[in-house]
């Protein structure tokens, strides 16, 4: 719809310009008027071009060409650029029954963010059940996307691959691997994080992203991801200021955050 409006507006602008061009008296022709006209003895009207036809045709061609170019180009450019910015809102991802996440333990969960897109949308998150806080379950869900440049961060510590569990949910299959991370680190450029996701070494500019969550019918459900500058405290006592999800390498707090005023996600 905005594309149509933009197209109509541009067409109207060009139509106006064209009409104005056509209506404006032609100055060079006006200047040429006082030139001496050869007198014709026969008494007929001298042969002077009063209406410059070639000028009219020139402007008409340019004007119409502009209109056609606008009509054709605007939808094409809109089609090329806009779909990237009008992504659909993701549904929650079912991460299986809450009792698959024993209190105080970590699980590495791999799941399909968008089952329709297939294996390419497989993501990994580190999930820890912090126990109950004020009568409600407290869960830490940290995304494994390194906030330096987006490589997958790994859990540093023992992992029990032979105890990996595959859970079938309504959406897709999900695997849970028990891990005991001492930290998380990224193989690409050496970014390192503690178990709350705070940066402890390397090039990352903020803490690891996290996911919001909910409990639906006793199942842990993954909701929107969000970005984090720094986590104070740990486990269920962690104090987190949540920012809208930003790309890796973008600052969310401090002076540098002013370099990233527009977020693609904010536009949706």
């Amino acid at each position: 719809m905005p594309v149509v409006i933009a197209g109509v507006v541009i067409a109207a602008i060009f139509a106006f310009l064209w009409a104005r061009d056509v209506m404006t008296p032609d100055r060079p022709a006006a200047l040429a008027e006082p030139e001496p006209v050869p007198t014709v003895s026969s008494g007929e009207e001298p042969l002077v071009e009063r209406f410059p036809r070639n000028k009219f045709l020139e402007l008409t061609t340019l004007g119409l060409g502009g209109v056609i170019t606008g009509i054709v180009t605007v939808p094409i450019l809109g089609f090329a650029v806009l779909p990237a910015f009008t992504g659909k809102e993701l549904e929650g991802v079912d991460l299986g029954p809450l009792d698959k996440y024993p209190e105080g333990e970590w699980r590495e969960a791999t799941f399909l963010l968008d089952p329709a897109a297939g294996e390419v949308s497989r993501r990994t998150a580190f999930v820890r059940n912090n126990g109950e806080k004020n009568g409600r379950p407290s869960i830490t869900i940290i995304s494994n996307r390194c906030v330096h440049l987006g490589c997958p961060a790994q859990s540093g510590g023992p992992r029990q691959d032979d105890e990996r569990e595959t859970i079938k949910t309504e959406q897709a299959e999900l695997t849970l691997t028990p891990i005991q991370p001492a930290n998380f680190s990224c193989p690409c450029h050496g970014g390192a994080y503690d178990t709350e996701g705070n940066r402890i070494a390397g090039p990352p500019v903020r803490a690891l992203d996290r996911y919001k969550y909910g409990i639906v019918n006793g199942n842990l459900t993954l909701l929107q991801p969000y970005s984090v500058g720094k986590v104070d405290g740990e486990g269920s006592n962690a104090m987190i200021k949540a920012y809208g999800l930003q790309g890796p390498g973008e600052h969310v707090d401090g002076l540098e955050a002013f370099l990233y005023p527009i977020q693609a996600q904010d536009l949706e």
Partner: protein, 270 residues
Amino acid sequence: MAVVPPPSRRRKRRMDKVLEIVNIPLDWLEERSGLVGGVKYFLFRKVPSDMNWWHTLGSATLTAFLVQAGTGVILAMYYHPHPDTAYESIRHVTHDVTLGWLVRGMHRWGASVFIILLFLHMGRVFLFGAYKYPRELNWIVGVLILPLAMLEGFTGYLLPWDQTAYWATVVGINLNGTGPFVGPLLAQFLRGGDEIGAETLTRFYAMHMLLLPGAIAGLIGLHLYLVVRLGVSSPPWSPEAAGRDREEPEPSGSTGLVRPGPRGGRPRGE
């Protein structure tokens, strides 16, 4: 003293007949298009007498581009730009299709050759001072070709859709994303959405085989037009000055920048 017998009449007539057969279609073409004259003008135009092998780097780069275009067209006949099948289709080309390994190898290694030759050609033009008046515009056109060629490399790298391709592209796109102000929007455009997926692959494929080669081919056309129009420059040690003979200086035993030149400079430190 060997006496060459004059060609017999019959033989001469046969020669004329052959020439006529060759010339009739060429004349037909020339009369209607002027193409024969154009090609002759291009091939037999004047160039400096002291051109050397460094001047062939431009043609070598063009050849590398044409090899990429030719092998790329054929690879496109087998490639599937979809996340589920892209890797498998390239495995198929490499291992199953007759000579597929060769064509893919040419395209893969030729990509590096193309970039390397671009830089060598650029270095030659810079060191020879061939970018100076009146050839500045040709330098600018060449400088526009360079990033397009590197974008070809960036977009082509994703297409095998293996782990290297995927994560290299993740890092590359996120690098763009860290650019201030417009970076996040650029990254979003390159990804075709919030996440790298099928949209990213198809848009990289379209850019790699349609948009960028088209733009490069157009700029190469402009580049060649300017080369033919402006002529090729002499090497910097050339005694030939533009359009006139240079006075031969007194031999002074000086050492030029590149080789002992007829420029008549004084030896250094004098």
